[in-house]
Symmetry: C2
């Protein structure tokens, strides 16, 4: 079997997220598997490093798949980009060792979130960022960000229904930067729960708007109650930026 | 009468260009006039510095309109951004002297054109750039660009039907730069004929792909035959970037 590692970019706007659910074709995974199965001449399953939410984007999602047929990296890349829709792009293909597994081997992930913080909309980025009209207080947001660093039980910041698995995750860094009218939030951690990044960003926005105090975050985390968290930032502003192995 | 100058950004993707044609509502001008007329309580006509093609974008289109009602610049900006669709944004409003006229006073215009020159598509910029898969020879393109500088009769580079008006335009600069995978072409001149920028870019692409020689351009210009020019670059990559007064 040949094991191929893919680096994939996508505009998630019209998809129900990465993960194929049964026969749902309207997912990134479903779209790619369909093309791969035709290419390979056998049923192909692709393993992503993790799911992304419906509507969220990826700058470098990592995935792998195995097939009997031997093709060069260039051939696989060309085939995929030829038959995939224009909003999914394969930017790199590498033949890797048989044991490489995009999910099990992923050590950390970096997500970024783009906020357009101007009183007028940005016509070109309206599907690729969240528009917050009122001025955000970045100093307060940076203060708030510190409370998320380190290891925490993120139950309050999840929407997961399963209560069995551990909700503990470690956040390595959470940076907030201004760049040409955008506020970019970058978060790196060993893993993220379902909706977690969007809920964390939602809290940072609430702090930036003066709706809640940064100092309230530790008690929200400690409560382990999902009801304690407020708004969830829109999926359009969210990008899976990097997967570390 | 109060004369207001507007700086407007738009994603032209779903419009039939700037200029309203009769009752056509599906134009940028039509959309803005509809909102202005409601705001002013009288029929408003807006004057743009020039038309943009169907599907083409603007980073800073300049326009002006006059109304009896007196409103502050902030009020006009807020009203427009509240009622205009998200793909049209008013980024500045200034009360100007009565004699200011966005078309007659425009001295020069700068257009930019974005080409994504990679073998794989760019999912986020697919509607905001033209994808050319084969590697473009930028050195040859720069060589070709020189032939357009200065004053020329651009009949060959127009699609205009009217033969009466002068087809002579002066190009002040035509620069080609690479930037994060994009080739950006910037062209500044005292005016541009219908489809002219896209036809000039089309020729530059043909030169970059080795389909024609840069040295062929002077004779294409001299022929004054529209049939002599080859491909026209897609509207998606075109931006009205700046209007000089």
């Amino acid at each position: 079997m040949n094991n191929y590692k893919l680096t994939i970019q996508y505009d998630g706007g019209r998809y129900k997220g990465w993960q194929r659910l049964g026969n749902t074709e309207n997912t990134i995974q479903g779209k790619i598997e369909k093309v791969l199965t035709e290419m390979a001449g056998e049923e192909i399953e692709i393993i992503g490093s993790g799911r992304t939410d419906a509507g969220a984007h990826a700058l470098a999602q990592i995935a792998n798949f195995k097939m009997r047929k031997r093709m060069t990296e260039e051939e696989v890349m060309k085939y995929l980009n030829r038959y995939l829709p224009q909003d999914i792009s394969v930017v790199a293909v590498t033949l890797v060792q048989d044991r490489f597994h995009a999910r099990y081997n992923a050590k950390d992930k970096t997500y970024s979130y783009k906020i357009w913080n101007k009183p007028f909309p940005n016509p070109f980025m309206r599907k690729y960022s969240m528009h917050v009209e009122d001025k955000l207080d970045q100093k307060k947001m940076k203060e708030a960000a510190k409370h998320f660093l380190g290891e925490h039980d993120f139950t309050s910041y999840s929407n997961a229904k399963a209560k069995k698995k551990s909700m503990v995750r470690e956040i390595y860094s959470l940076d907030i930067k201004e760049k040409e009218g955008f506020i970019e939030i970058k978060i790196r951690g060993n893993g993220f729960l379902y909706n977690m990044v969007r809920k964390v960003v939602g809290t940072l926005i609430e702090v930036g708007l003066g709706e809640i105090e940064a100092a309230a975050i530790p008690s929200i985390l400690e409560s382990k109650e999902r009801i304690q968290t407020g708004r969830m930032a829109e999926a359009e502003g969210l990008y899976l930026e990097k997967v570390g192995f």
